[in-house]
Symmetry: C2
Subunit: 138 residues, 2 copies
């Protein structure tokens, strides 16, 4: 079958980011969230990376602050699963996923979209899109 994608609707992208690398980083990230492994997540980030979670909050800069963020925030995550394919574009990857977590004994599901900017196989920027309306008791 000819797919004939060379149309004006489908520009040729110069994607610097390897899709397999992006998939691996995303998969590792979600796996380490469930493992409550803040140091492991920190190792996915560049030492001077920037984290904004949620978007609109004051960004954290640097691996120490980032590890601190995950050290405080990870407990209680039971599952973290992609809810669709990753989207790689430029040197970035966007992905929709959901978390299942327990907070004070109550189970919640949470829908999030994260955007990673990747350079030299490390996350140099992470922005997490979610608000309370994306949480529901389950």
């Amino acid at each position: 079958m000819s797919t004939e994608l060379d149309t004006p609707q489908i520009p040729k992208q110069k994607t610097g980011l390897d899709r397999a690398l992006a998939q691996r980083l995303v998969d590792d990230y979600l796996r380490l969230l469930v493992l409550d492994d803040a140091e492991g997540i920190g190792a996915l980030y560049h030492p001077e990376a920037r984290l904004e979670d949620p978007v609109g909050s004051t960004p954290l800069v640097g691996r120490e602050a980032i590890v601190g963020f995950y050290s405080n925030g990870l407990s209680g995550i039971d599952a973290a699963e992609l809810s669709g394919p990753i989207r790689v574009a430029g040197n970035e990857v966007a992905f929709a996923f959901n978390l299942h977590m327990k907070i004070k004994g109550q189970s919640f599901a949470m829908d999030i979209i994260d955007v990673f900017v990747i350079e030299a196989e490390q996350i140099v920027s992470m922005r997490a899109f979610w608000s309370r309306e994306n949480m529901r008791a389950v």
Copy 2:
């Protein structure tokens, strides 16, 4: 049921963007894509807005260029549907959706994540995350 969301994991966000407004803009955008209404989509954008579709391509600036982009790119879109809830954060909204389109008689499905930055009820920035790997013949 008490949901008790006032925990360290769930920071209080200062969300300047009204969720209902964001939902309306997203719904209008997807509806107008299917209607092939480039002018209508242009009206959702600020006159000096910036569009980067796909992320990594040269951004277009200004409503005229944006209308031109949609005038060239919209034909053949049969359906545009959210594949999950919108995520509102800060003055931005991220949403995962899929398009069904025909290109040279072949039907494709395409998975995209868009991020809108909203100011004064208009899109001031749009970034679309996708690559060819997010297209499949259907």
